[in-house]
């Protein structure tokens, strides 16, 4: 398995995880726990439906899915921007709702997010310096100490000193992403939710940013939830991956296992949309029919049955539950492994 990168602790944990069934409590309680979380907008838009997900401290979990899959809603629930309609979300053993009610600022320091559009996430009429001092002002952090920390972070991220005098439209996309990272790090968070951190970046510079994020994870003992539509990034960077379809998690597995042998037919189809450059490595292309149904009126039974190439009669009526399927993976399918990537 993962040999080179992860630090001792992480390796230790992932070894543990493989040995024990996921549903039972591991030795260290997970940092993040979503239990049966649903989000319904306006009474009919089921943006999230019965989502259960745990993220261990120090882990990097990837989230993939297409539009309407609920990735963004899941992120917003996790950082406390969208309250769940039902189910519970807890970070560090206490529910987000309770933390937001009793000590909201402490929760904000604990959980931070990197927004997808990095340039737009910086206030357009503020200098970068002022934006970076927003967390210090909002949280009344001890000034001298915080300034010192901020200076150290800027240097660590390789941002030039004069960047603080500039406005967001005067810096590059790569710099804007780093400013976003710096702003989050000032708060010394435990969990960082990164929504498409490499979207819009050219492939020649995305590696640099990902290396940085990986290094920071070690240095600041961070936990990441990484959302990306770039399957190569997910495959390379994350240790576990959750695949979402129409507001549900359809499969959740160690990343390597998932990419080698997806269990859910949707996972298989999604992974097959990313053809490898090397023809020898290229998997069979599975082309799904039809379009993604609307979350307002999701199909009955298994939500994927309308497009599933291997659906059977049962799938049209019985909604499958997220069930274990070996290798520490959970699959929401009556017939896992029935669609293979192999040619």
């Amino acid at each position: 398995m993962s040999t080179a990168g992860p630090p001792q602790g992480a390796q230790h944990r992932s070894a543990q995880r493989e040995g024990t069934p996921v549903s039972t409590v591991s030795v260290a309680a997970p940092l993040v726990s979503l239990q049966g979380v649903s989000v319904v907008f306006g009474g009919q838009v089921r943006a999230l439906d019965d989502v259960t997900l745990e993220i261990d401290r120090g882990d990097i979990v990837g989230l993939v899915g297409e539009s309407g899959s609920g990735k963004t809603t899941l992120c917003r629930v996790l950082v406390g921007l969208t309250p769940p309609t039902s189910g519970s979300v807890s970070v560090g053993g206490e529910t987000v709702a309770r933390q937001l009610a009793s000590q909201p600022l402490a929760f904000r320091r604990r959980v931070q997010m990197l927004l997808q559009d990095a340039v737009a996430s910086l206030s357009p009429r503020m200098t970068i310096g002022r934006t970076l001092r927003e967390p210090i002002a909002i949280h009344s952090l001890p000034r001298a100490q915080a300034e010192q920390r901020l200076a150290a972070i800027l240097q660590r991220l390789g941002l030039p000193a004069d960047v603080t005098a500039k406005y967001p439209h005067q810096i590059s996309g790569g710099q804007a992403r780093r400013v976003g990272v710096a702003r989050a790090l000032v708060m010394q968070p435990e969990l960082i939710v990164a929504d498409e951190p490499t979207a819009g970046l050219d492939v020649s510079v995305q590696g640099e940013l990902l290396n940085l994020l990986l290094d920071l994870q070690q240095e600041f003992s961070l936990t990441y939830l990484l959302v990306s539509h770039n399957l190569n990034v997910i495959r390379r960077v994350t240790r576990r991956t959750a695949v979402m379809y129409l507001g549900q998690i359809v499969e959740q597995a160690p990343t390597q296992a998932l990419f080698e042998r997806p269990a859910h037919p949707y996972s298989a189809a999604l992974l097959s949309t990313n053809p490898a450059i090397d023809p020898a490595k290229r998997a069979r292309r599975i082309v799904l029919q039809g379009e993604i149904p609307s979350v307002v009126n999701p199909p009955p039974g298994c939500r994927f049955h309308t497009r599933c190439p291997v659906a059977q009669a049962r799938c049209k009526t019985d909604a499958p539950a997220l069930a274990e399927a070996g290798e520490g993976r959970l699959v929401r399918c009556h017939f896992p492994y029935s669609l293979s990537l192999q040619r």
Partner: protein
């Protein structure tokens, strides 16, 4: 949005200066700017600019032709037209600026509030806006004058009220756009309180377009004030106002056309100047401002 900051760097003053320079690069903008400065100058320094006491009667010398003593001649009571026009600028600017200041403040506050209110209350505010704007400004002013009688104060209040929906709708739509803007999301994730979000982040970003709209409303208000005064329902005589001057002249059109033409031209040039300036300002900052209506 971030226009005033664009390129100008850190200093707000430099940004304003830069915008003004951009305004003056176009011929129409420059002409508008000159007219605006002239009108403002007359308004501010009316007693010094005027050559005569605007209210001094000289009935023996009524309808005097323009001359060295009376640059633009005299009216039906022998009052110096030039001086009355200069003082008319003062009245026009007082009405316009105070009405717009009230409308801008109230409209912006209501607009931001509406954007943050729950859907039902927001709809109520919007209906109120719709009700107000279903009255043509002049017609609502007439209804108010019918009740309260003509006075400058009523003109200011009514014009302000009719402009509130204008600013309110723009403030609301701009705030709604901003509400989902990533940088406001980022503020919420950082834990910023709502006053901090509204005053430090929303307001600075919507104020620019609103101020430009306000500048474009100046000629509209001048027109309404002049119209009401022309009907004798606005500023009360003998206070000089452009609309009143036109009315005075119109009464005696059969005897001389000079006062009518002179005061109409003054009014027309002033509204044209403010319009040209306001539009050049908008084009310099963001040509799309105010296009949603």
């Amino acid at each position: 949005m971030a226009v005033l900051a664009r390129g100008a760097g850190t200093d707000m003053g430099a940004a304003v200066w830069g915008t003004l320079r951009k305004v003056c690069t176009t011929l129409t903008g420059a002409v508008g700017f000159v007219i605006v400065v002239l009108v403002m100058g007359c308004a501010l320094f009316a007693p010094w600019v005027a050559t005569h006491n605007p209210d001094a009667l000289d009935v023996m010398n009524r309808f005097a032709a323009p001359s060295g003593a009376h640059w633009l001649g005299t009216d039906h009571l022998g009052r110096d037209l030039f001086s009355r026009m200069v003082h008319g600028a003062r009245v026009a600017m007082q009405v316009a600026l105070s009405a717009i200041a009230i409308a801008l403040t109230a409209g912006t506050a209501l607009g931001i509030l509406a954007a943050y209110l729950p859907a039902r209350s927001e709809r109520f505010v919007l209906i109120v806006f719709d009700v107000i704007s279903s009255f043509p400004s002049l017609v609502l002013a007439l209804a108010a004058v019918a009740v309260f009688g003509p006075s400058t104060g009523i003109v200011v209040v009514i014009v302000a009220v009719t402009l509130i929906p204008h600013f309110g709708r723009v403030a609301r739509s701009q705030t709604l756009t901003l509400k989902s803007a990533p940088f406001l999301e980022a503020e919420r994730i950082l834990g910023a309180s709502w006053p901090r979000v509204v005053f430090f982040h929303v307001l600075p970003n919507i104020l620019g377009p609103l101020v430009i709209l306000a500048s474009m409303d100046i000629p509209v208000v001048i027109t309404i004030e002049a119209g009401l005064s022309f009907l004798g329902l606005g500023v009360r005589p003998p206070l000089a106002s452009w609309g009143g001057l036109i009315q005075d002249g119109y009464q005696y059109l059969s005897q001389t056309w000079v006062p009518v033409v002179v005061s109409s031209v003054a009014l027309g040039v002033a509204t044209l100047g403010f319009t040209l300036f306001g539009e050049a300002l908008r084009d310099a900052v963001d040509p799309r401002i105010g296009r949603e209506h």
